[in-house]
Symmetry: D2
Subunit: 148 residues, 4 copies
DNA sequence: TTTT
DNA sequence: TTTT
């Protein structure tokens, strides 16, 4: 439809590492959950209440590979994308819905020296320090100027 | 959690009128679906593909009453809010999830002269023309300066 | 700098038509002003105050040509982009600053039947109705799937 | 004007400490600059180009005091607000314009253990660690539930 | 200079 | 279920 907007902007922390799915040698997606939370004081009880919301992030192709390489559970990230609700059928034949955030851009927010040592060899090899083309910029998917 | 952001911005059209639920004389919510869509040309088939996404909007209290009064099926609106996934149990005892947009601010985008005549008496009584304090501004919920 | 975001989202009305500047046969920019406004009730005087803010929009290449073709003074538009402050020297040799919104995406919000008849031949020729590839979608600059 | 939006979202680093201005015992503003940057590879020269953009942030009242207390030069922050261009007259009687971001919400993004030791007594006294009600939540100005 |  |  013309004249519409579907935009999501999140800042949150990864609840798990990036899980990759490869379709063929050119296409893949990465998935990971991020948590946002809000807290407020309940006026009746004077207690502080914290609600955590989990978001299922889906990122594609080169962007997925960058996320897989540089992101680990616990890292903070800015995500920009759109909401997409998928319909699927469970093993009892029931229709189910699952809402995902299709990520278009992202920016890593965890300082490099704060990232925990990861056991993923890909991350260990990343050496982002020596790359003038740091992978932490806001990154529109499909920007072929970026050397990834 | 400190340092997080959960922000949704939508421009879309109402797929149905606003449905109100009253809890007591001070608290109510309004619900309505809005559609966004995107279209692109499939490179293999050269066909234009249009995908429509439906979003369940939830708006509270005074803001809900304003939406109920001035919005009708088909109207275009800008919505700002946050994503919230509710867990519920269906009649077979299965856990289900439903994702909603909790609306914090909105702006009506359908010009008044374009709005179709509604049969709802509340809308017929609205007479927004005679109100200098038009209800179409971006409106943070809970702003008591607004004369509603 | 890594890990930064510079994002502007505006909904407003054009205060003037799009002015084009051509650099060569491949590069051009379009410029136009849009107005946003906010109003509130002054608590002391009980008067409604309205403040209008003007934004200088800059759009490039194909996107500029689409704006020039389909937008006219008075039309409503959604703009997404980034803030850029340019430094220039006035005719007295003084340093001056001018802040612009470099537009990355936009969506036309004025319904076609509401647009005033324009005298620009380009707009008269536009015939967007007969184009399955409507120019009113949210449109990332450089999306070559779009037939413009 | 009804039906408009003026929204800015920035993630950047403070170029200086927060400067406070007190009007009376209830009203104050804080000002600080933040930098965003973008980088790309120039296709002609194959060189990486980085452009830094400076934004003048203005924050009011309690929010200003929180910023002054917890933010220092170099810290990373998420800012949400609106664009406002002020007109002023310089000492030669020339009209000048200055564009500011009037901040409505913010979230601190520098982890506490990464913040440099500041010499400001207010910051030294802050002890945010011992406060369950951490000042780093996204914070709408005027939210009186927050214990500041 | 726009719009409601 | 909307809209173009």
């Amino acid at each position: 439809m013309a004249g519409t907007l579907n935009k999501v902007m999140l800042i949150g922390n990864l609840g798990d590492d990036v899980k990759m799915h490869y379709f063929d040698d050119k296409n893949c997606i990465g998935r990971f959950p991020i948590a946002t939370s809000e807290s407020y004081v309940n006026k009746q009880t004077n207690e502080r209440v914290t609600n955590t919301e989990w978001h299922n992030i889906v990122v594609r192709n080169k962007a997925a590979e960058i996320c897989e390489k540089y992101l680990s559970k616990g890292d903070k990230i800015y995500i920009e994308g759109r909401i997409k609700t998928r319909k699927w059928t469970d093993d009892k034949g029931m229709e189910r819905y699952s809402t995902e955030i299709q990520c278009d851009e992202f920016t890593f927010l965890t300082p490099k020296n704060d990232q925990q040592q990861s056991h993923k060899p890909s991350a260990a090899n990343a050496k982002p320090q020596s790359q003038p083309t740091a992978p932490t910029d806001t990154m529109p998917e499909g920007d072929d100027d970026l050397p990834f």
